[in-house]
Symmetry: C2
Subunit: 198 residues, 2 copies
DNA sequence: TTGGAAATAGACAGACCGGTCTAGCTGTTC
DNA sequence: GAACAGCTAGACCGGTCTGTCTATTTCCAA
């Protein structure tokens, strides 16, 4: 059972890793900022890498909650739910502390696919794609899996582009592209179902 | 006028920064790998950051040449030229040394928008978007600027997703999405031109 | 009150970091 | 042969890095 000190440490670690980068943020900086002793860190984690992993897991939980909150206003409209994710991204990208996608950045700094940090990034992208696939299927997409992958690319690209350009424009741009892709997939599915039902 | 030693140093720096990350790669590692003396580095560059910048500039030049080579086989078909970029990306993403987009990763590690390294990333993404805009206009897109931004998002997203998942699948996925977006934009433009000419 | 878990507070070790400096070598041009 | 540009080869500096260790303190439940 995690302790309050542990949770606070992970919270602070996430904030600093996300702001400054994983390699650029040292243990001493995190401990100073969290007001936690080094022995406490090494009681809870075997290494800095394990702290990074815990921080990414916290980030993933937060992101899932954010996704659920983003689609909540449209419980019966999967197309709107998908677009609402990009709308919520536009708000997210405008926040002062926004600094791109923690997972793609973690994978950029930890290249080895066998590395548990890189694997956390893989799992996160899979989670996002699965989430979008459910919505795509509900929206009547002809090929929900393909549409979901495309939407995931758009989301990841929008996040990265927003971080590079320091603008929230990519979210709106991604939303427009998503709408086009969804409609193209749904129309194609409806047309093929009309043909076969005749 | 750059010297052979300087060019070799930048070449080696680019390779190591791209493989291992900017903060994770130290000066001594680069010098050892390049067989160049520290004094030589500091004769040519005022700091590590300047070396990083030179490495990114070299990368940008290489990327522009790669873009030109990717579209060369289809001199008269802008739609195919755009799609060929994603085809070429599929090949690129399968190379052993592929490790995502150097520019979005640089921006991830150097967050400050005033920082010249981050600005190099901004310029690069603008260059790609401009490149795609020319092709989009030639392909008859109704709104070439918007289409170009969407295609840039797809490309950036595909690059990041390929690095995270260690797969070239995102390139193909991006290609499919690009085709849909191009056709949607061109058809919309043709329809609006037909209406106004009647 | 006591015992134990959890946390604190550094010191310490060994390694690495970016950058400065000195002395010397090599190759080229005049 | 001399002068000079470019480069080599580290030593050195002050700092940071991750992780280990010891001694001590704090808090809480029994």
């Amino acid at each position: 059972m995690p302790s309050a000190k542990r949770d606070h440490l992970v919270e602070t670690a996430l904030r600093l890793f996300y702001r400054d980068g994983f390699h650029a943020t040292g243990i001493d900086t995190i401990l100073r900022e969290a007001g936690v002793a080094k022995m406490t860190l090494y009681n809870h984690f075997r290494s800095k890498d394990e702290l990074i992993l815990a921080a990414l897991e916290l980030r993933d939980e937060r992101f899932r909650a954010w996704l659920d909150a983003a689609i909540a206003p449209y419980p019966d409209d999967p197309r709107e739910q998908i677009l609402a994710i990009f709308d919520a991204a536009e708000t997210l990208f405008q926040q002062d502390d926004f600094n791109g996608c923690a997972f793609t950045r973690a994978c950029g700094e930890f290249r080895d696919p066998e590395c548990s940090i890189h694997q956390a990034g893989m799992r996160h992208v899979c989670m996002l794609t699965d989430f979008l696939e459910d919505l795509a299927a509900s929206a009547g997409a002809g090929d929900p899996e393909s549409l979901a992958r495309q939407l995931a690319l758009l989301f990841v690209g929008a996040s990265a582009a927003a971080q590079v350009t320091c603008s929230c424009g990519p979210a709106h741009c991604g939303r427009c592209a998503a709408a086009t892709l969804i409609d193209a997939s749904v129309v194609a599915h409806s047309s093929s179902r009309s043909s076969t039902s005749n």
